[in-house]
């Protein structure tokens, strides 16, 4: 092996772990400055998010949403597109799902309703991603800025639609009516009573299926090959006969559909109605997950579970320690994006030196 290259175990495992530890170290420093003990906080976090079975169930419930948004950002990244718009796509996906529910939940059986909800969510999510994809492919408008704009537009538009058309008569709360019971995703605690009264549902299994399909499609299909070729070197891909603009548009559609599907877990799995700002930052967490998991299915899964644990544990932590509000985890999310994404090769020279020292022996 060349002395200037890192072995795969180092670049695929050691570097991400070092980066993650750096991010958590900075977070620990901030928690220390806020006058709380980082070790004690970590204890509360682990206890409430992983050790306690109900807590673990909530962790996996959040993770199910994050796997979808993480996949949405990851698949776009494979094609060299940085989709910041998963948040808006998920929000609009929730609208598609809700329209399907409001139209059919009195008529269809449960399994068809779930299917209808998923189709609605994926369709609307994909539609919301279409224009940024089209503008990137055909007009060269940078997808980063257009998707950010589409997040803002989605927020205002959904506010308008929910307040004007969705609130049932006589209600004040800005939310749609509650769906029929048949439209609820089957809960996993039916089979595993130890999970207690938690919203963990079959979305978790769907998320794992999605991870497998993603892995197969990206690395084992000709479409995935075109996708990765476009991401690595669009000029070479174009020369090899890949239709770049079509690949970009299709990738954004798939990315948006995946982000839309994230709404299924949040809306049909838990609240059973469409509410204002229900994505609550899940789309942005997807960016952190994609970067931390290096767009690999196993990495995405582990990162999604980590973020699920941070959200669930962070909630309990904020109750016990008022100085560490939930927003602390938005900050940690930013740190993880910084260390695992922008500074991903920060430790590479040091690790390379250490490995080369070993090689000489």
């Amino acid at each position: 092996m060349k002395k200037t290259e890192l072995p795969r175990w180092a670049s695929g495992f050691v570097l991400p772990v070092l980066n993650l530890l750096s991010a958590l170290l900075v977070a620990a420093l901030v928690i220390h400055l806020l006058g709380e003990s980082p070790i004690e906080s970590l204890g509360i976090l682990v206890n409430s998010a992983i050790v306690n079975p109900e807590g673990l169930s909530y962790t996996l419930f959040y993770a199910s949403t994050f796997i979808f948004t993480g996949l949405a950002v990851s698949i776009a990244m494979q094609a060299g597109l940085f989709n910041i718009g998963a948040e808006g796509q998920m929000y609009v996906g929730g609208l598609g799902l809700t329209i399907a529910m409001l139209a059919f939940d009195a008529h269809l059986p449960a399994w068809l309703l779930i299917l209808a909800g998923m189709i609605g969510a994926a369709l609307f999510g994909a539609l919301w991603a279409f224009l940024p994809g089209y503008l990137q492919a055909r007009r060269g408008s940078h997808v980063v800025v257009t998707t950010i704009m589409f997040n803002f537009i989605a927020a205002s538009l959904m506010n308008f639609i929910i307040v004007k058309y969705m609130i049932p008569e006589g209600e004040q709360n800005p939310a749609s009516r509650v769906f029929a019971d048949a439209a609820a995703m089957p809960l996993l605690n039916k089979w595993f009573p130890v999970l207690g009264d938690t919203p963990l549902n079959i979305s978790f299994l769907l998320a794992i299926v999605a991870l497998v399909i993603y892995g197969v499609m990206v690395w084992r299909s000709s479409w995935g090959y075109q996708l990765r070729a476009t991401g690595l070197n669009p000029h070479a891909a174009h020369y090899a006969g890949v239709k770049i603009s079509r690949t970009i548009i299709v990738t954004m559609l798939v990315s948006g559909a995946l982000a839309g599907l994230a709404a299924v877990n949040s809306v049909m799995g838990s609240t059973h109605y469409l509410s204002l700002n229900f994505p609550a930052g899940a789309g942005f967490i997807g960016i952190a997950i994609a970067l931390m998991g290096r767009q690999h299915p196993v990495g995405i899964f582990l990162s999604a579970v980590l973020f699920g644990a941070l959200i669930q544990g962070g909630f309990d932590l904020s109750l016990e320690k008022p100085n560490i509000p939930q927003e602390t985890f938005i900050f940690i999310q930013g740190l993880i994006i910084l260390f695992c994404g922008a500074m991903e090769n920060f430790y590479a020279p040091v690790v390379l030196k250490l490995i080369n020292l070993k090689r000489k022996d």
């Binding site: 257009t146 704009m149 537009i153 205002s156 538009l157 308008f160 560490i324 994006i337």
Partner: protein, 321 residues
């Protein structure tokens, strides 16, 4: 239509624009040197919080503005280190800063003030408006009195700074040695390098300038416009500034026109709210809020202007061996 007051639209356009102008000029320096600055939003937010918090604590707006400069420069230097020295992904770095600051400002505000991520009202520590001499004397004259007292005069020092900076930025960029080097680094860093210009150093200085300029945007938001800090109060101003940059083709004067245009939209938005218009009727506020973002997409789609970015934008410079 008589509810639409032209005069108040003009005044509030002038008052809306500086937030975008400072940030857009910051972005101008960063991007003309070849560094993408998506992190404007995070820097605005951080300096808005710090300047409000410090101004309140010391009851002095100038201390607040100074502290805002410091924190914005620190963030710009982190960005510079990642983008220039580490050769990392500049977009990812900017987004990371935006997300991290959105969380951190809330946490720290909550820690110090316990008002749900808000700082207390600045009250007397707010930067006061300048009253030009002779305002009272001219007040009675219909148009001139208004023009002198409320458009040319009666603004905060930072508003004047924003408009004075425009010709200065233009001169620095196009008529100074530093500006020439800066543009060379953004267009063709290898040529600049061959001519003996240190691309890394030039880009670091550009980011330093960007940090200072961007801090005024946050300080203006908190210490002048609102008189407090509120969670996520920048509300996309950093992104709008970037768009003004795209709209203005990375040229100072055109970019400022873009900022004024967005300022005008903001002013019209406030005027339109709750007003019955002919034909369309009352437009809900949430739809009016969308206007700047929709216009941005239209601009980006190239339907209004053809934009040509600096050639080396976003590409880390690797000195050839």
């Amino acid at each position: 239509m008589e509810d639409l007051h032209l005069a108040s639209i003009v005044v509030s356009t002038i008052r809306n624009a500086p937030v975008l102008m400072f940030a857009a000029m910051a972005g101008l320096f960063a991007e003309r040197s070849g560094v993408v600055d998506i992190g404007l939003e995070g820097k605005i937010l951080a300096s808005a919080f710090v300047s409000a918090a410090v101004a309140y604590t010391f009851q002095n707006p100038w201390y607040g503005i100074g502290a805002g400069i410091a924190v914005s420069v620190v963030l710009a230097m982190i960005q510079a280190f990642v983008s220039i020295t580490q050769k990392g992904n500049q977009l990812v770095c900017g987004i990371a800063i935006n997300i991290a600051m959105s969380g951190l400002t809330f946490v720290v505000a909550q820690f110090f003030f316990q008002q749900g991520g808000r700082t207390p009202d600045l009250g007397a520590a707010r930067l006061t408006d300048v009253v030009l001499p002779g305002t009272a004397a001219l007040d009675g004259i219909p148009v001139i009195g208004w023009l002198y007292g409320h458009v040319i005069g009666g603004q905060s020092v930072l508003v004047y700074l924003a408009f004075i900076l425009v010709p200065i930025v233009h001169w620095v960029l196009y008529h100074s040695r530093f500006g020439l080097r800066l543009r060379a680094c953004g267009e063709n860093p290898h040529a600049a390098d061959a001519a003996g210009v240190s691309v890394q150093r030039t880009r670091y200085i550009a980011m330093l300038v960007a940090g200072v300029l961007c801090s005024f945007s946050g300080a203006y938001l908190a210490v002048v416009q609102s008189g407090f800090f509120l969670r996520d109060m920048s509300a996309g101003a950093g992104y709008l500034a970037l768009t003004a940059l795209v709209f203005g083709n990375w040229r100072p004067l055109h970019t400022v026109m873009g900022c004024l245009m967005f300022g005008l939209f903001g002013a019209i938005q406030i005027q339109l709210e709750g007003v019955d218009l002919p034909v369309v009727g009352r437009i809900p506020g949430s739809l009016i809020q969308m206007i700047p973002y929709v216009v941005t997409v239209v601009v980006l789609a190239g339907l209004m202007a053809k934009s040509v970015a600096p050639k080396a934008l976003g590409k880390p410079f690797v000195k050839s061996r």
